[in-house]
Symmetry: none
Subunit: 237 residues, 4 copies
Amino acid sequence: MPETNTQTRRQRLEAREDAIIQGAHAEFVASGFDGAKVADIARRAGVAEGTLYLYFRNKRALLAAVIEAFYGKLTETAEQGVMERSETAERLRFLARHHLGYCLNEWGILSLAVPAWSRVTEYRDSEFIELNRTYVGVFDRVIREGISRGEVNGEMPLHVMRDLFYGGLEYSTRSYMVRGQDMDDEQAIDRLSGQIMAMILPAFGLAGKPQSEPGEDEIGQLAQRLENAVDRLEQLK
Amino acid sequence: MPETNTQTRRQRLEAREDAIIQGAHAEFVASGFDGAKVADIARRAGVAEGTLYLYFRNKRALLAAVIEAFYGKLTETAEQGVMERSETAERLRFLARHHLGYCLNEWGILSLAVPAWSRVTEYRDSEFIELNRTYVGVFDRVIREGISRGEVNGEMPLHVMRDLFYGGLEYSTRSYMVRGQDMDDEQAIDRLSGQIMAMILPAFGLAGKPQSEPGEDEIGQLAQRLENAVDRLEQLK
Amino acid sequence: MPETNTQTRRQRLEAREDAIIQGAHAEFVASGFDGAKVADIARRAGVAEGTLYLYFRNKRALLAAVIEAFYGKLTETAEQGVMERSETAERLRFLARHHLGYCLNEWGILSLAVPAWSRVTEYRDSEFIELNRTYVGVFDRVIREGISRGEVNGEMPLHVMRDLFYGGLEYSTRSYMVRGQDMDDEQAIDRLSGQIMAMILPAFGLAGKPQSEPGEDEIGQLAQRLENAVDRLEQLK
Amino acid sequence: MPETNTQTRRQRLEAREDAIIQGAHAEFVASGFDGAKVADIARRAGVAEGTLYLYFRNKRALLAAVIEAFYGKLTETAEQGVMERSETAERLRFLARHHLGYCLNEWGILSLAVPAWSRVTEYRDSEFIELNRTYVGVFDRVIREGISRGEVNGEMPLHVMRDLFYGGLEYSTRSYMVRGQDMDDEQAIDRLSGQIMAMILPAFGLAGKPQSEPGEDEIGQLAQRLENAVDRLEQLK
DNA sequence: CATGAATGAGAGTTCATTCAT
DNA sequence: GATGAATGAACTCTCATTCAT
């Protein structure tokens, strides 16, 4: 009985903490750190304002918890997806889709950890940096293993590959969002990650896709396109 | 006399406006938008607080002015640098160094325009987006011309190339800053941009350095040029 | 059995109440009334916060209990010390040392009852006043008995003697604490109370100490000093 | 014109600062430091809450200003009153009435500086201590001069005399207020200070009132005067 | 009886904006 | 046009008190 009670109580506490983190997550995404009001976080979480401070020292600690939780989930699912695949190219394509998916839905969170990066002096930032480092560690391992397997060109610095990979993905998320979502997100993720990977994989030394090998077929395609263009021109006339 | 006066007065006003924008720029970079205090901006600009409101409706308008001025300079210098170079690879290398240089020194400003992107509803954002579009237009033109010249592989969508280029550069800026500056910035810029370009240029179809020696590949090049011509024809439509 | 139980239970309750009062005492001394946190009192007492409210209606009642307990002990020990002595001078010297000792160690508590005195309207104050009256009643009885014995000069109002006695002691405690404790407390108590009493006892009509009675020796000393002074004057010349 | 303007503006600022200090003074006296609400201080001063912070960094600084202003006035008037009198006994009687008057009307303020004394670690306290030291310096000088004139018995430590003087006065203020004001304050001041001084002056070696009638004690007096002369001679050295 | 998580009113403080000079 | 003192709404955080367990 007491055990059940304890169990129940502890569970309730954890459920509450989760609710608070979720509420904070939503509010931070919606309004940014400074724009987020503690009162609104509390309302979203369904608790009183004062209650927040039983779980987190202050607003900043709340942000830290949110980011930590987010990176935790991100890293875990990334790791899992990688383990389920064996080929390097496949793994990278998965990581790209995975990252892009989170970026698209929760763009705000990732950028919440960033502004702090500009003021390097702030010591708390190291916390976020560490989380990020752990996350990109998944990518690093994939690449290292690819190199040792001879699938990946090992001549270029790992960190450059990483920067290109994540930078390209995140920037294209922004671009996509700015263009305005004209297709559903699933499609967008597939398409965007596909395009990015089509450029990056070869750069990494991995054949983008075995796909159509260049050859005489290209000439055929070209001929086709020329004919189409001419058709259209004729119509314009 | 009155003309001189008017002239002088107008100049004085513009000088003030510039001073204010500069002060705001510095303060925004140092503290972010929410962290920036109007009082500090005024102090940096050497004017009274109230004076700011004679020139700009409110803090937000001040930010808009700062970003506009920044993008203006950014675009102008980019354009100029491109014009001074003729080869596509050279131009891209310049754009990379140029962008990286601004990123490194004024990281904050670029990110100030971004957070708004997450809240797509905010109508003012379109203003910043337009500025950014104009800026990256420089890159776009370089690429289009490169394609039409046959220097750049025209198979991949332009926006993907752009995302990879700017995304890779900005992400590596962040990485560099996080690692802690262990070399002076000039060196860092050369090195980082060099590494990024070493990966990107080949991906764009530009031989990193040794460049494609002319030879029997002429048929391929011909095909490429034909294809580019088609692209342009299609765009004309 | 039930009696034993009741007995045990009652004892437990009293022990708890005492623990709470002690904890509150310590916290109040350390932080003052407003600065004291109920949570800290509970921690010091080793009970839960809510438990405090089973024993005391609120924080204010807790303070009342603390002060009452403190004055109780103060009065009791004062009374006892007086009874163990018979001469008025001895008794007063004891009371001085006794009061000073408490002042030095528990300065905070006495002053906790005071601030309320400034807001005369607060009705609860009478409670503290009564406690203080009872306490100084010990002094009053000593004086009255001294007067009736002819040891004390009965011409001056009792309350003035009391004010001088306690006021002098408490003010010199403050002075001593401000100067910074440069001697151990036992010494300080002896010395301070000695000095104060040396002035007060004669004023009360009690010979401070039998000490050196004025006589012809004074003239000898004076002669000596005059000679010394003359010597020095001659040297100056 | 500009001078007049400046003058006016500066005067207005000073007037406001004074109003704020007065408002804070009243509120602090009425409610104590912790009990005082900044909002109420602002209302009493007739300014907005934010305005307070243009003049004083925070609530604590406000208290410091209040106490400083109070001690300033206290010291000044004390000094002046002393200068207008020449006999030591007269001077002390004046100081007593003077101190008592302030105590009676503004009891709260003096005690506001005290609670901090219990927590000796707080560095700001030294500020208050210094103010108090300056104030009692007036008393000290009166006594020292009295000693050098031979009017005051120089055998006892100065700080003990001081403690007795101020302690007695303040304690009797409290007693008086506790008893409930049954007479008007002017009367009370005269009476209380008279009673205290009647005990203290003799203890200081000053004949309370009737003063020593001249007579055969002439030899003793002569000795005293000689001794005083020696003192002064020694100090000249 | 005991607990301690939950509450929410209320505190001090900040700062973008205004307006009398 | 320029100033900067004044404003007051809005924020984060604290903590005495309550009450379901």
